[in-house]
Point group: C3
């Protein structure tokens, strides 16, 4: 019998943060057919972005990974808020990780893996997503990462 | 009886710009199932981008909002060109706003709201989209914003 | 009788590169309904990115076009690896081209056309995709471009 995402979260002792409130006139999630589009999620903790600054300068690669995992947890909190239960998620179809980095930074995959590894823990390593990662010039509230996912249900 | 998007546009006195011509070998819109993917729309007026430069430097936040609303109007013009009528739009599923900003800029949500607020006026505030916003390093023709939408029909 | 994408590749003497290995904990492609989402593809040749640096500085516009065509070929290699044959592709629905440029660069459409022109050669000029292009601040391994596509099957 397959173990669901909610049971996996419990077994690993992962507590999702409170779903972040939208920062403007948008909604956290919209379902279209069997795809669930989620808004971009920042590394929010207690209503403010926890990691600010550029990866490769003020922030280390490990800071970037911690921020990316936190942003991914925020994305899951949004998905759970919309669906009621993460057991309704069939798969993470697409993961976009946008990182605030120095111009010379090139280790984006190692940072983005912090999100991919979380999703592997929650949804199973056999069901990895596609991924797109890039370095951006600026982000809302000076956050160092935004994570955007499209799920299938 | 529900008021449609076309009637809302008329009542608010909003005139869509001429749909911008593609800047290369692509098309404005492709339908896949009930999703309509639109190409990125710049703040075009009379065939040239109206707002050029970085938000936070040459351009103010208010300039950025005006540019973002104009780009969103261009996106709606593309959708109408493809569909014949915006009444065929069920919802804006996903809105991506990419802004040309200074490195320190952090008020992306206020700028992106200019697009979200336009869509609320046209399609109703109860049907807001998901949203992803980030700061980019450069944009075609020096424009300060590109708006990309995915609609459901 | 329609000529398929595989025959077009043969007639034009285009050989796809070996499909690039993921740089982290993600997969090259995920199908959701009739949409096939692909991971971002770099201009890989022999396991390393061939074009590194900024378009407009170390790299010319023509370098950028060559890199973008190579990245698009890598994306097609990923699609073929997943589908078995590119004849199963109905259309390129969406093409995202993210370019590493100088801050002043504005000729993104000319660079991105290298990918659009390749897809026109392979899938037919009447079936062009939607497109989104922007300049990013940094990319994995210092590559100058990443190409991301969504296909319908």
């Amino acid at each position: 019998m397959t173990i669901g995402a909610e049971q996996r979260l419990r077994e690993m002792g992962i507590t999702l943060p409170a779903p972040p409130k939208p920062l403007g006139a948008y909604v956290p999630a919209v379902q279209a057919g069997n795809l669930l589009f989620l808004s971009g999620a920042l590394p929010m903790e207690g209503g403010v972005p926890k990691f600010r600054g550029r990866i490769g300068a003020a922030l280390t690669l490990e800071d970037g990974r911690n921020a990316t995992r936190l942003a991914a947890l925020n994305a899951l909190a949004l998905a759970k808020q919309h669906l009621g239960s993460l057991d309704k998620v069939s798969r993470v179809v697409r993961l976009t990780v946008s990182l605030l980095t120095t111009p010379e930074f090139g280790d984006h995959p190692k940072v983005a893996d912090a999100a991919s590894e979380l999703f592997a823990e929650v949804f199973g390593a056999d069901e990895a997503s596609t991924r797109m990662v890039s370095g951006v010039a600026s982000l809302p509230a000076g956050a160092c990462v935004v994570v955007e996912i499209v799920l299938s249900t």
